[in-house]
Symmetry: C2
Subunit: 201 residues, 2 copies
């Protein structure tokens, strides 16, 4: 019975997060109220508050889900047979996911809130630091195997790679006609030329 | 007398924009009121409304100033003797400017507002399109002179270069310890390796 309970809890949790995201997209994170999120989720406050006791707790859960998803991506990068190819795929997957306009809206809302709310800022700064640390480890590992240029400053490389993915997402909101698929071949050229060993293939 | 009047007008215009930006940073673009902007600028509504008749007109002026500044940068890029070096400098200047946390706050506020307000979105989409078009022209020109790889998809290259600059700005808000100067050497390596002709120096 324990597992069934847990599955139900997980499903309800996802249902609440989806409802909350709809509210944030419609009204902005700052203006959306817990009352509204209850209404959107079709749940009583008494029931919803058993899952999340504040909007911050909801945002925290969204950040945590993002962290877990990133960790899954980086695990794949570590197991990769061809680092540069896998890095290109990872970037492609992240751009494809971000081509949903709602993703961009939520990212902006969270970023704007983080710039006003130190607690939210700290959560996302931690995600950023973990993402960068994982990427630096994967880069060092690839350099040790001779797959990428070992002379590069990997902290700076990781920052630039995250920047290009994140910045490309921003471009899509400014240019709705832009397709991620159109960017990918050039993005892969950039990654390969930038990172491959100077005397490599 | 005409010139003196114009200078006074320009100075007042800048004064109002600075006051408005302070309000937007403090309260967010959406929540800041024209009344508050008048108070911040120390001007009567009657006086301020002679310059800007709405918050949208103020945002429009901010977008226009950004457009003019971009145009100045691109003019320099066109006159450049060494394209890749100039592109690196331009990126450095844009990152340095963006290392001011207030710049990031305003950029986020504007982006969040654009995602709710089609008029604001259209203004910034136009700036984005003009920036990209100027960069594509400069890239084509450099390729014609043999300074960069002519086989690249210049639309995609321009999008990626804008993305990396914009994305790097986002990183600074998530990691206050990050210094633009620490990124620049690696950023220049990326630009050079990505763009130089395959058989070039």
């Amino acid at each position: 019975m324990r597992t069934v309970d847990q599955k139900l809890r997980d499903r309800r949790r996802r249902h609440i997060l989806t409802a909350a995201i709809s509210c944030f997209i419609r009204d902005g994170f700052h203006r959306a109220s817990m009352q509204e999120i209850c209404k959107e989720a079709g749940m009583s406050p008494g029931n919803l508050y058993r899952y999340f006791d504040s909007k911050e707790a909801i945002i925290e859960a969204i950040a945590e889900d993002e962290r877990k998803e990133n960790a899954t991506y980086y695990a794949k990068l570590f197991r990769a047979k061809n680092f540069l190819k896998s890095l290109g795929k990872m970037l492609g997957a992240s751009l494809k996911k971000a081509s949903d306009p709602n993703y961009e809206r939520i990212a902006l809302e969270v970023a704007a809130e983080a710039s006003r709310n130190p607690k939210v800022a700290a959560m996302f700064a931690q995600n950023e630091a973990e993402t960068k640390a994982s990427l630096v480890l994967a880069l060092r590992d690839a350099a040790a195997r001779g797959e990428i240029d070992g002379q590069l400053d990997f902290e700076a490389v990781a920052t630039i790679l995250i920047a290009v993915a994140d910045g490309a997402i921003g471009r899509m909101s400014l240019d709705p006609a832009l397709r991620t698929t159109a960017l990918m071949p050039t993005m892969k050229i950039m990654i390969t030329r930038f990172l491959r060993p100077p005397d490599g293939p």
